[in-house]
Amino acid sequence: MKLASVGKRYGRGPWLFDRVTLDLEPGQVIAISGSNGSGKSTLLNLMAGLIRPTAGTISGRPRHIGYVPERFPGHQRMSAIAYLTHLGRIRGLSTSVAQRSTHALLERFSFSSGSDGSIRTLSKGNAQKVALAQALLVPPDLFILDEPWTGLDEIGHDVLSRTIAETAARGGIVALSRHLAVPGPAVESARYDLDGATPADGAPPIAAVNLETAATTAKVVLRPHDHSRRLPGPWAGVARTGPNHSDTVDLTVAHHDCDRLLLAALQSGWSVVAVLPDDPPTEGRTDGCNDGGDDST
């Protein structure tokens, strides 16, 4: 899927962004970051085909798209199961398959229904789980998530991280937006910051988004005390978790998540073996976290 010099403005208003060029390969997980009003949701809506770009072109959009909005509307009187079954049928599933998929997804996300089962009685977190489930009824080739971590509990974070990793492993493209101030596991393989793509008033549109380089991520090497290899909370399903040596695991996390990961790991009985800048220019182990964390324990 390619976005070529894409720009968006509403009416005669200012450009939200312009000349955004992205070449999204199967298996890629990208995060769109930026401040409020920078156009993160708009860019995701463009990718989903919900709106048309003011400038530029989007090509190669996959057929099966899973779209998870930032806020799932809560005034539906329909039950979550009925709603998801309907959407499964809309996506071409038979009723029985749609029902099975619905129950499997809700169970996976540890969904608990409201007092009468209708969506309007759900908590924000459970409504968000319904929003995630509807996007996964048919495995999406393009999985679009607008600030997906909001409202989810720890289990939801865990399952979502694994789902994103599975979608990418299947060859799907995952595009999500994230607010740097909102915590959430670093699942993305690349991050694009839209703040740099907003031209000043009256100025010609400036070029594209800025790719954050590998220097903004860090590799954390951990060793479990009890050999369970279960990482705490949302990091249990981080896509880039992998074995390093026989008794350690490596994680690649964003800088802003690094300190929280270390704290959670230590509190959960893990030892921090090393913290490294991702793809370091030298082989030497150095501090990769913000504010000068410990190299090792």
Binding site: Y10, S41, T42, N45, A48, G49, L50, I51, R63, I65, G66, Y67, P69, R71, F72, P73, H75, Q76, R77, M78, A82, H86, L87, R89, I90, R91, G92, L93, S94, V97, S101, A131, Q134, A135, V138, P139
Partner: protein
């Protein structure tokens, strides 16, 4: 994952939107309005049916505009986006919503057709019933077109939508040279036999159907998603 026919399903979309409309119950005011007109209008001395159907033809226009607007606004804006993405083709939900509205219109028109006969004060031939049905459906179709252009998808501000809809309904009901509702009402109330007017009414209904279908892509193109 097992799929039924390997394609996105418009029938399922219709079922979902119909269920949603029934859950929300926003259809009740326009349906009740039409029902009141039919019940009150059917009280009489057993005169001819066609002038009565002329009244139904005018009343169903108002209810159809109202119904179309509420059916197209049944889903929350965000939910509508999910449905559009799920349906793959972005105009499918609009087409399905129009089908849901037409279904309501059809049920209302059929009920209004037979109600005067059920209360036992009139008798009618097949020609009267056919002309009455086609005239009501043509008027309802005109209401669907007006409702689509006055829907949240095209006119996001409800005040402007209400004013626009009221102006369009008044024009269609009262201005003689604006087709199709006013000419149909005058035709039905003019005293001609049903067989004499059947051809004109049928052509009008067919043309309105074509215009309804043609309006769907236009309204879809005008559809502006809120930021």
């Amino acid at each position: 994952m097992q799929r039924r026919r390997g394609r996105f399903d418009v029938t399922a979309l219709y079922r979902y939107l119909a269920a949603n409309v029934l859950h929300r119950q926003l259809y009740l005011p326009p349906v009740l309005l039409f029902g009141v007109v039919v019940v009150v209008g059917s009280r009489g001395d057993g005169g001819p049916l066609l002038p009565l159907y002329a009244l139904w033809t005018g009343a169903i226009l108002i209810s159809s505009v109202w119904l179309t607007i509420v059916v197209l606004a049944t889903e929350d804006v965000v939910q509508e986006r999910i449905t559009m993405v799920s349906a793959h083709r972005m105009w499918f939900p609009l087409a399905a919503a129009v089908l849901v509205t037409v279904t309501f219109d059809g049920v209302m028109a059929a009920a209004a057709l037979f109600f005067p006969l059920l209360v036992g004060v009139r008798s009618a031939g097949g020609g009267d019933l056919l002309v009455g049905l086609l005239a009501q459906l043509a008027s309802a179709g005109a209401g669907v077109i007006v409702g689509m252009f006055c829907s949240r998808q095209v006119v996001p501000r409800p005040g402007y939508a209400l004013l626009l809809a009221a102006a369009a309904v008044l024009a269609l009901l009262l201005v003689q040279w604006v087709p199709p509702v006013n000419p149909l009402i005058r035709l039905l109330a003019g005293g001609e036999s049903a067989s004499a007017m059947l051809g004109r009414v049928a052509v009008t209904a067919a043309l309105v159907t074509l215009f309804v279908v043609a309006t769907i892509p236009i309204v879809h193109a005008l559809h502006r998603l809120p930021r």
